[in-house]
């Protein structure tokens, strides 16, 4: 053998790249806008002169954003914690993987049918998928954290007492770190819920952006970054219950007794496939009509929607990986000196604090509706997250004293070979997230599954909407399983304690 064999992680990485290149001819990556740069320049000018809308309005939307996020995440944390103790049950595991495979915005579209644009819609849209995520992550933490005191507590102690003394104290610090990270995600989700009509920061961002009030966009974004950057200071064990109470007391909850009828109608009528609702037909007639209905939906929505969702996901996955490879050196102490690293960190913090949905929305306004803004938004956000995590991972490496001096040599010969497996593991962990997001980008006008789901909701065709959401969920679960297989084949995994 004259050439070294590529390792499995290398093969997987090259495979992702090759697939993405092969898919490019089939993708719609056009810039449709006639003069995108003019608009970007206007945006840049506005961005450098941040302004704020009416203070009362701003305070109300800020309170709404924080209230929904904190109530949703706390509810999810409590339920998720209980579920995590039952995670050995296959039923619970499958249920959780289904619940978390549906994006918050899709949950919001469903709950909007029950509660209208009320805080309850926002709270549940966050709490339902997050509870399932909490359950999984808490269960994984519990599995990986040893408790030396578990063997010495009296054997006849009650399970709950034993858990309280011998388990929880060891798990608590890990739970806390992860939950705080989730609260950050919850704030992003809460802001984004503005795009379906809840009066959060996203709502104001969207209207300011569409009306070209770019300095206001800038002000709102800065406020949002500050909110996220300071989470650890205002979300403390003492303030969280207070914030929850304030949210319960202050948000406009409305009257739910009336809306029970909506829920009942949703389940008994709205989501029943349209051809089955006509009670005057015979069974064979009904079956025939259902078959036709399904065939139609399959050919014109499911297949094209799923194909473009997969297409965008794979392009975004490849670009995310490539970007992470370029970005992580900017925050790695082995490759960048302190001032450079400071700038690198600032850039990555901004990119990863900006929800990918918002990035996609903005790029879409500049470039027009094609797959390009979706792919770029996903790659920027996820590439920044992975770049940050891998950069931090490289802090653990200790290079030998006679390691190469030149940065490129050091990158290719010393740092990359050690960091690459970790990078690949993070990339494949994010795969499911990328696909969930891709589907939801349809609501912005990219022809992924979310496009058809959004249309079905606005045409009040709940039967179609639910079926399409189920297809999206199945696709996500499939990617999750495939990702686990590929990670196992490549023998890569992430070290615990770093939220992915």
């Amino acid at each position: 053998m004259t050439h070294p064999q590529p390792s499995r992680p290398t093969l997987v990485g090259l495979g992702v790249l090759a697939l993405a290149i092969a898919l490019v001819p089939f993708s719609d990556l056009e810039v449709i806008a006639t003069d995108p740069w003019a608009e970007i320049r206007r945006f840049g000018a506005g961005f450098l002169a941040p302004g704020f809308p009416d203070a009362a309005e701003l305070a109300a939307s800020l309170a709404y954003t924080i209230g929904i996020a904190i109530l949703g995440v706390v509810a999810a944390g409590l339920v998720g914690f209980l579920l995590s103790t039952l995670f050995r049950s296959r039923f619970i595991r499958v249920m959780c993987s289904v619940l978390r495979s549906v994006h918050e915005l899709f949950w919001a579209l469903i709950f909007l049918q029950f509660f209208g644009p009320s805080p309850m819609t926002g709270l549940l849209a966050i709490a339902v998928p997050y509870a399932a995520i909490f359950a999984k992550v808490y269960a994984e933490i519990a599995e990986e954290t040893p408790s030396p005191s578990a063997q010495v507590i009296p054997r006849k102690s009650r399970w709950a007492s034993g858990y309280l003394y011998a388990r929880l104290p060891d798990l608590w610090p890990h739970f806390k770190i992860y939950s705080l990270y989730r609260l950050e995600c919850g704030l992003r989700s809460s802001a984004i819920l503005g795009f379906v009509g809840l009066p959060t920061l996203g709502y104001h961002l969207e209207s300011a952006f569409l009306e070209g009030r770019y300095s206001e966009v800038s002000g709102l974004l800065i406020l949002f970054y500050l909110l996220i950057a300071t989470v650890r200071y205002w979300a403390r064990p003492i303030t969280i219950p207070l914030l929850c109470l304030a949210g319960l007391a202050l948000l406009p909850w409305g009257n739910y007794a009336l809306e029970v009828t909506n829920v009942v109608r949703f389940f008994t009528e709205d989501i029943v496939p349209a051809p089955l609702r006509d009670s005057g037909q015979t069974l064979p007639e009904a079956m025939g009509a259902l078959w036709f209905w399904l065939g139609d939906l399959w050919t014109y929505q499911v297949v094209p929607g799923a194909l473009s969702t997969i297409l965008v996901t794979m392009l975004a996955l490849a670009l995310t990986g490539a970007l992470a490879l370029v970005l992580f050196p900017a925050v790695s102490p082995l490759l960048t000196a302190k001032p450079g690293r400071f700038a690198g960190n600032a850039g990555l913090v901004i990119l990863r604090s900006t929800p990918e949905y918002l990035l996609a929305f903005m790029l879409l306004q500049f470039w027009g509706p094609s797959m390009l803004p979706a792919v770029v938004a996903l790659a920027l956000h996820n590439g920044a997250i992975i770049g940050h995590l891998v950069g931090r991972h490289t802090e653990q490496f200790s290079l030998r004293l006679d390691a190469p001096r030149r940065r490129l040599d050091k990158y290719f010969y010393e740092v990359l070979p050690r960091a690459y497996p970790q990078l690949l593991a993070y990339l494949f962990y994010r795969w499911e997230v990328i696909m969930r997001e891709t589907a939801v980008f349809g609501m912005l006008g990219v022809a992924t599954l979310g496009f058809f789901i959004d249309s079905a909701f606005s045409e009040l065709r709940m039967d179609r909407a639910i079926l399409l959401i189920a297809v999206t969920a199945a696709l996500n679960i499939g990617v999750d399983i495939l990702s686990r297989r590929i990670r196992r084949y490549a023998r890569v995994s992430i070290t615990a304690d770093t939220p992915a």
Binding site: V152, P154, S161
Partner: protein
């Protein structure tokens, strides 16, 4: 009363590779038993198995101590009596310890010269202090059967002697692995020597010759 009985027993990881095999022995209440042998002879495995097997009120001091590093010394000691209290009172004592419990536990800690560390974290303590916390947990439990794996390995001679007296007077039945052969002879009324996963001897200390003991440590 019979505490545990082994009849041609094998203990260890799976049936194919037992750590200990051919065990034939009985342990009765009131016995003070020392287990000696080289490291790797199977002492810890034997003790852990015994702890799990014994039906009476038992306490364990493992070699790794089993401290909860995120809880205070108070809570680590309190843990010894979790089964004596309801879940609610355990919850209450976790959040805000009751005065009565604090004074109980402080008096246990006084015997161990640790009373000034009641609310310290074990991570802030020295190796010997940590070991005394684990001992305190067993003392506070007030067990009928005490199973201890090298409970004095990090203590000086004065403290060791004191702790051995405390432990043997607190529990009716004591089974301890000890590396210090003279301490073992002094404390025990029965000495079990383990070698290569088998019982090499099982006799009162008076019946043991130096040669019996040297045979356990061929590399010494």
């Amino acid at each position: 009363m019979l505490i545990a009985r082994f009849q041609d027993g094998a203990i260890g990881y799976g049936t194919n590779h037992p750590v200990l095999s051919g065990l034939n022995l009985e342990i009765r209440s009131g016995e003070k038993i020392a287990i000696i042998g080289e490291s790797g002879a199977g002492k810890s495995t034997f003790l852990h198995h015994l702890y799990k097997k014994s039906a009476s009120r038992a306490a364990l001091i493992p070699q790794t101590l089993g401290l909860a590093d995120n809880l205070s010394v108070f809570h680590n000691i309190y843990m010894g009596r979790l089964d004596d209290h309801s879940f609610l009172s355990n919850l209450r004592n976790l959040i805000s310890p009751a005065k009565r419990r604090v004074s109980e536990i402080r008096s246990t800690l006084e015997h161990l010269e640790l009373e000034d560390k009641t609310f310290a974290r074990p991570t802030r303590l020295s190796g010997g202090q940590r070991q005394r916390v684990a001992i305190g947990r067993a003392l506070y439990r007030g067990a009928d059967v005490l199973v201890a794996d090298e409970p004095c390995s990090a203590l000086d001679d004065r403290q060791s002697a004191r702790v051995m007296t405390l432990l043997t007077s607190s529990s009716d039945t004591c089974i301890m692995a000890l590396h210090d052969v003279s301490a073992a002879r002094h404390f025990a009324d029965r000495v079990i020597g383990l070698k290569d996963g088998k019982v090499h001897f099982d006799a009162p200390p008076g019946d043991l010759s130096d040669r019996d003991i040297q045979a356990l440590y061929p590399n010494a």
